[in-house]
Symmetry: C2
Subunit: 344 residues, 2 copies
């Protein structure tokens, strides 16, 4: 086996979803866009459906179609990007629920699929997806008798509980939906943690289910173990890797490890990330290559056969910090060459 092993703990995913569900009195959906945050939408959604989740969210109609094939006809599958040009056949064939983001999308949906369910996404200040309050006021009576299955909005700063943006979005959302008389949703993981006023009728956790911040009590979900190809000794002054950017300050032992930026170990981690041999941390040295990293294993008593980059000692958020990014990007970058394992 020359590729790494990515172990995905579906029991931890279920436990995280249940813990987030237990924080609210309302229904809890699950967000499985971007192939389940890189961990396998079919596997993740299958486990959560078994655990009781009844609603799933994806980003694109194409993702919804694939998820419908995996889950069967029962669960509700909603699409954040709404009803885009070209989506009609997928929405109909797979009974997807588009979250309509604009007057244009609403007109398209009501015209092409007049009987099909839909939701409405409102923009409450993030200025990314969703109808402006004025648009919503203008179109809500376009289709008398056709009420949305859900009205949702999304918080821009939920990871920062003290940010005044949270209360502003909450107030606006509550105001413009007060009379809607349909289920409402505002909170993803961060919003759940902000407390009861943010919960409404449905929450939509994503990152917390996958073990990431801001859900600090999450069970870790992923472990990534990388095989060592070879080990060499270098003398002080010898350089390692592209561009000779690292040179040995002492007699050093370097392990060459079979994973690189093509596997999601993004180049920026070369600036000092750690991997682990058992409990012992070792530094990545030199540049991250496409298929390889090099690690200083001088202080280990034995040459390692494999090194852990995600797991008990290092979360996706810790690795992300070394790379100047967020755990979400570490997850969605996890590569296709790993051997993926979902232990029961």
């Amino acid at each position: 086996m020359s590729s790494g092993t990515l172990t995905i703990d579906l029991n931890a995913i279920v436990a995280n979803w249940r813990a987030l569900d237990a924080m609210t009195a309302c229904e809890t959906a699950a967000v499985v866009k971007a192939d389940g945050y890189g961990l396998g939408a079919a596997e993740v959604a299958g486990a959560l459906a078994w655990a009781g989740a009844r609603q799933f969210f994806v980003a694109l109609a194409e993702e919804g179609a694939a998820l419908r094939r995996a889950l069967g006809p029962g669960p509700t599958i909603s699409v954040f990007s709404g009803h885009m040009a070209g989506d009609t056949d997928l929405i109909r064939a797979h009974a997807l629920v588009p979250m309509l983001n604009s007057v244009e999308q609403m007109a398209r949906h009501l015209e092409t699929l007049p009987e099909a369910a839909f939701g409405v996404q409102l923009d409450t200040g993030m200025n990314r997806l969703g109808m402006e309050p004025a648009e919503w006021a203008a179109v809500r009576d376009l289709a008398p008798g056709r009420t949305p299955a859900l009205i949702l909005s999304h918080l821009a700063c939920a990871d920062a509980p003290d940010h005044p943006m949270n209360a502003r979005q909450l107030q606006l959302f509550a105001e413009i939906t007060a009379e809607a008389g349909v289920p409402r949703s505002l909170a993803a993981t961060g919003g759940i943690l902000l407390g009861e006023p943010y919960h409404f009728d449905l929450t939509r956790p994503g990152i917390g289910v996958y073990g990431g911040l801001p859900f600090i009590d999450a069970h870790p979900v992923v472990a990534l173990d990388l095989p060592v190809i070879q080990i060499r000794d270098v003398v002080p002054g010898e350089t390692v890797g592209y561009g000779n950017t690292w040179s040995a300050a002492r007699p050093s032992r370097i392990a060459t490890v079979a994973a690189g930026y093509a596997d999601g170990l993004i180049r920026a981690i070369g600036r000092g990330a750690r991997v682990f041999a058992g409990d012992v941390p070792c530094r990545v040295v030199g540049r991250v290559s496409m298929d390889l990293i090099t690690v200083d294993v001088t202080d280990l008593p034995e040459p390692p056969e494999a090194l852990s980059i995600l797991g008990r000692h290092q979360s996706v958020d810790t690795l992300a910090e070394a790379a100047g990014t967020i755990g979400y990007e570490i997850l969605t970058s996890l590569g296709r060459r790993y051997s993926r394992s979902y232990p029961a």
Copy 2:
């Protein structure tokens, strides 16, 4: 169609390979590791085999097995990571040629597959993969009558033609292989451009075939067009995206575009990358989300239906520069949600 369209020009790939081949008097292989630098190993290698390439390089035995299924029995498929524990069955079943990197790998290969071809990778200073000269001297006579099919090494600084490392590695490689009497290879794309002394018997271009630097005369290979989900007007002071990091300085029009870091638009590009509406550049504003970017389209005469992020106006290297990385990482990060097109 709610996902982006990634168009991969196999004719440009063939033209690039032929141009690199024409720069040398020796044979030219092609490197198709990491799924053909993210563009599809089967498609790329198929086109290059048709164009005359006879040798292909991959990183892992698993990649070699998949490539063998795509190419059939004819071409030589070599594996940079050599013969790792667990690789024996794949190497035998798919007639792969491991580039042995250590005494341990050599012993494993000669013991488990005594009749199977192999190459030897030598380290000439990069300290990443390959036997040290002393190891090679010690083991080269381990198997009398079993000569390597190829001896190769890899340059650490070939992208910097004036770096003294290049001449040092060349000299060492020439010295330790002078008496070997087997085909030798030192140059990837950068090495080809360094000139004839670096060419030996076989070159192994990778990035240049895919249209990237340092091959400045490469034909562009990829175009990436992203659909616009919706467009909104914001007033001065309004913020866009997560964390409210961007705020409008003038009345602005913002397009929300269906691709994000889960599609390989790495978060770091948010610091100022451009996308194009026809010939007109527009700035990415706000943070890159998992599935979305937001773009300032205020200066366009018409609201765009799609925006180009890679193509005629912007190469992988230009986009990489905006993200503080290299074109290689942009290529290998290209996501799985795009609709991929290989026009004839």
